[in-house]
């Protein structure tokens, strides 16, 4: 199968520190730097009074308090400054007078100066990444996959992390072999590495014979096992695509997906300066529907929690965000914001087949409340509304959920993590993170039976479905669809 074997040269990632964020400069240094810059402008610049107001802003106790609070909540210095600027700008929103409103620009100017200084040391650690590289790192973060040119990456080897982490998912969707939990101490930049991700093997500086044998294995091995193709065809299982962008949808459909089983909407809410309006969302969802070319699109409502800061959604810091305010819990606590998303989905549903999927459901009431909100937005709507089965609670009450839901989608990664009580990012308990563990298989079985008793379809949208062995078991358990992240795998399973 694509994405398990690779040959390449080791390239070890060096960061300023290993937290994944650039440190280098402190807030105090950045404020000091900005102050001296402003003082120089006041003395030599064209408009000293403007910069003297800027200096006053720099010393503003409200700004300092807000930044300190943000830092205490876990933000990096630069994030804390940006978030503070945004929050304080909000105070000016109700001001009708243009002059005073324009003071937001002064605040932004000052804050951007600080952020620029803080970020200056950052740079892109992947700037000098060579071709055909095996990226070797203590740990990678999702943002790293944006910073590196994935076209140059043959494989990724990390000490921390797991195949179901976000980096693992991204690597898989790009067909890049990924070996987490590896012993990387013996690797030096430039070493030739043989990677067998399926068996978590990394061979450092192999002999010529070993390379030869490995190349032969690659020629044969990068194929989808016939058994996986068979079990999918024999059981009449649909092959859908997972997508986090319009581009992903286009690729999945181009490779023959029967539809999109999971369209993540978080990208609309994260890494942005402002919360998207209903109109912004509608435009994206409409584009997504159109990219599906008549095949069904399953839009998952925002799956955001305390671990992902999002503009306009203030989530207090939580000790354990995976057991906290996230998914449907957060959406229902912010009904006005949730209704913007619902209305955008309803409007997009006029352009094709759209289903709405709720993440992190644990009680029937959550589904009923969400349905009521849909009803409030459009009382004549016949939008299909389904739930993700990713908590043990949802699996245990799947018979009750089936009474109210139009479909189920099992999120195998989270379901495994929650059933096994094993953090999916923690390499030391990764042996428990097994979707074929008896407990997880039983949970899936309960869900499939409950769904079919009520005549509703049940799919799987977790990455585990890409594993031939897991896929075979899921097909035999009776799931109706597998939604997969890798377009290459979709292509193999659904030859055009």
């Amino acid at each position: 199968m694509e994405g398990t074997l690779a040959i390449g040269k080791a390239w070890i990632l060096h960061r300023k520190n290993e937290t994944g964020q650039c440190s280098g400069r402190t807030l105090d240094e950045a404020f000091g730097h900005e102050a001296s810059r402003l003082k120089e402008y006041i003395e030599n610049g064209p408009a000293p009074e403007v910069f003297s107001a800027h200096l006053e802003i720099l010393e503003d106790p409200l700004l300092h308090d807000t930044i300190q609070r943000n830092v205490a909540e876990g933000m990096t210095p630069a994030e804390a400054v940006k978030a503070a600027a945004k929050e304080i700008s909000g105070m000016f929103n109700e001001v009708g007078d243009d002059y005073f409103k324009a003071r937001i620009d002064d605040l932004r100017d000052v804050c951007e100066g600080i952020v620029e200084y803080l970020d200056e040391t950052c740079g892109n650690p992947f700037e000098n990444l060579p071709d055909d590289a095996v990226v070797v790192a203590q740990e990678l973060f999702p943002s790293d996959t944006v910073k590196m040119d994935l076209g140059k990456v043959k494989a990724i080897v990390t000490r921390k992390g797991s195949t179901t982490s976000h980096v693992g998912i991204i690597a898989r969707s790009r067909g890049i072999p990924f070996v987490p939990g590896a012993d990387i101490d013996g690797i030096t930049t430039g070493d030739l590495l043989l990677i067998d991700a399926g068996n978590s093997l990394v061979k450092i500086n192999p002999t010529i014979n070993e390379v030869e044998a490995f190349r032969n294995m690659m020629a044969k091995g990068n194929e989808v096992p016939e058994t996986m193709i068979q079990s999918i065809r024999e059981n009449g299982v649909k092959v859908l695509g997972n997508a986090g962008s319009i581009k992903d949808i286009e690729e999945a459909i181009r490779n023959g997906a029967d539809g999109i089983g999971l369209f993540r909407t978080e990208f609309l809410f994260l890494d942005r300066d402002e919360r998207p309006s209903e109109e912004d969302q509608y435009q994206i969802y409409k584009e997504a529907v159109e990219a599906c070319q008549g095949r069904p699109l399953t839009i998952r409502t925002m799956d955001i929690g305390g671990d992902k800061p999002s503009p306009g959604l203030i989530i207090p810091k939580e000790d354990n965000p995976y057991l906290g305010m996230r998914g449907i819990r957060l959406s229902l606590s912010l009904p006005e914001i949730f209704k913007e998303q619902i209305r955008a989905i309803l409007r997009a549903s006029a352009h094709g087949k759209v289903r709405m999927m709720l993440p992190m459901v644990t009680r029937v009431e959550e589904l009923i409340q969400a349905k009521e909100l849909v009803e409030e937005c459009d009382s004549s709507s016949d939008l299909e509304i389904g739930v993700m089965i990713e908590t043990p609670a949802a699996a245990l009450i799947s018979d009750l959920l089936a009474e109210e839901a139009d479909f189920f989608s099992i999120g195998t990664n989270d379901l495994t993590q929650y059933v096994m009580a094993a953090d999916r990012g923690n390499a030391s308990v990764s042996y428990l993170n097994d979707p074929l563990d008896e407990a997880v298989v039983r949970a899936v079985k309960i869900v499939v039976e409950a769904a079919h008793k009520k005549g509703i379809p049940v799919g799987v949208c977790g990455e585990a479905g890409s594993d031939p062995e897991v896929a075979k078991v899921l097909c035999e358990l009776g799931v109706d669809s597998l939604s997969l992240g890798s377009p290459a795998l979709i292509k193999e399973l659904r030859p055009l």
């Binding site: 003297s52 107001a53 700004l63 001001v95 005073f100």
Partner: protein
């Protein structure tokens, strides 16, 4: 705590430069807390951003409060400033 109400008289209102001067004045009374309140909200007068967010235009009524060791002097000087800037 002592307090006084007044109406902003300056034609341009309390814009950035005089707001900055006001903050400097307030800070010259360390230990004394000065707040300014309008119908909208009440803010700390040592924060220029907070003061500007009040959008004090000509004709706006504002209440000044001072608490602390220099409260009388602070209130008197802040009042004089706001009536004359």
């Amino acid at each position: 705590m002592i307090a006084k109400k007044l109406t902003i008289g300056a034609p341009d209102g309390l814009h950035a430069r005089p707001a900055g001067d006001l903050v400097k004045l307030v800070k010259s009374f360390p230990g004394t807390q000065v707040t300014m309140s309008t119908a909208v909200r009440s803010v700390n007068a040592s924060s220029i951003l907070s003061i500007l967010s009040l959008a004090l235009k000509k004709g706006t009524e504002v209440e000044i409060k001072a608490v602390g060791p220099d409260e009388e002097k602070a209130l008197a000087e802040v009042t004089r400033f706001l009536e004359s800037f």
